[in-house]
Homo-oligomer: 252 residues x 2
């Protein structure tokens, strides 16, 4: 089959972002309110078109910076531990997923520490951190008693896939530290696991496990009492990215 530009249909390609963080002991995702049809007024995942000269990862990083101000953590610079983790999640291309035209969306997953209030085009009322269960429940009522509309497009599916990816990935990688500030305690890390998995973990076994896994945590020497109680050692993320043996998620 020789090259023939008319032989393939044109697509629009977008990136959508599942930006996760842990706030007040619960796993939250960034949602933006749609200002135009379709799904006007509904909540959706942030995203946008990929530009003509842009890689997919670049487009995702640009959208993330536009929505949150976050820069992406560069693995080549381990000292600079600020910035979010960003990875490709999956691609969604159902012909009917966007009623306007044929859009293929390359979803990305971003993990960030707890942030100040989000901004979306400078308008704070159009962006928020919401617990993922709240965003994923269909047609119920939110914490404030307000009725909850499902996310626009297939974004509920994308969010669900992103959450599942995060839940499984913190088992065998050190990614849970991406939810933490640059310096954190074992208890803070444990609360990340508890929030993402939605389970309670034994503090003593957790402490033994993470401090015993080589390369996971490196002590900084400092301590903190910001959680109350006895002062806790501060750690930074170690160089290891893959945990061996992995963290074990308790049975349901």
């Amino acid at each position: 089959m020789p090259y023939d530009p008319s032989a393939f249909p044109p697509f629009a390609v977008t990136v959508d972002l599942v930006v996760l963080t842990v706030r007040r002991h619960s796993l939250c995702a960034l949602a933006v309110r749609r200002g135009e049809p379709p799904f006007q007024g509904r909540w959706a995942l942030p995203g946008g078109f990929v530009r003509a000269d842009e890689d997919l990862a670049q487009a995702a990083a640009r959208e993330l910076a536009e929505e949150t101000g976050l820069r992406v953590h560069d693995p080549a610079v381990p000292a600079q531990d600020n910035g979010a983790h960003l990875e490709q999640l999956a691609t969604y291309g159902d012909p009917k997923r966007d009623p306007r035209m044929r859009v293929v969306s390359v979803a990305h997953l971003a993990l960030a520490p707890d942030l100040p209030a989000p901004r979306a085009g400078g308008d704070a009322s159009n962006a928020r951190w919401a617990p993922v269960e709240e965003l994923l429940q269909q047609g119920g009522y939110g914490r404030d008693g307000e009725p909850v509309a499902p996310l626009a497009f297939d974004h509920a599916q994308i969010l669900s896939d992103g959450v599942e990816r995060a839940r499984s990935k913190i088992e065998y990688s050190s990614l849970a530290t991406a939810f933490c500030p640059p310096e954190f305690t074992v208890g803070e890390l444990r609360r990340v696991y508890e929030a993402v998995w939605g389970v309670a973990l034994d503090p003593r076994n957790f402490h033994r496990k993470v401090t015993g896994t080589p390369g996971f945590l490196v002590p900084t020497g400092g301590t903190t009492t910001r959680q109350g109680g006895r002062p806790a050692q501060l750690f930074r993320a170690g160089g290891a990215t893959l945990l061996n043996p992995p963290m074990l998620r308790p049975e349901v």
Copy 2:
């Protein structure tokens, strides 16, 4: 930002396939020879354009059927165990990955049992199963002493990602059975793990492990001596998709 069709650049969207199988104790991938520029005469992964009314998974299944005759295993029909496993792998969208135009490729990973010779457009000389190390080595010489050219486009990267996905996924899922015929012995399954991981496994511990993992294997009652030696029990894949505890890949 109102809807404006001129606001986004048009993309071509393709699916590329990493089709893996185990032949003669080594992990092989399907490669097709390119008949036209760019990369004319070079080996590449099979793939093609996504049609206007087609889902991404449908496009991948269609390409797989065109290249191999394989149908995709439908998880809703566990009895019909023939057919390949197919899943989305990742999406590649570097602006320069295709010199002709902006192409975003949604790569898929397919796992198949050992097959008869492949066909590509009816021409067998333009398709072959090749060991993945052979396809991935850069500028060396193949088993037959012929010089090896690297795969076209970024297909070496895609193949490498697919192999890595397969290697890690058989650790915690029952996907290794997708490389086996509908009925297989523990030894055949072990040789799959050995080929995919490139390691030797202890037959006794492997046997204990897989027969002891609930839902992994169900005995069919039959036996076979097709491997020589003492007759071995035949098994089918059990309903379990996730292995708990996982298979452990030996340290390198």
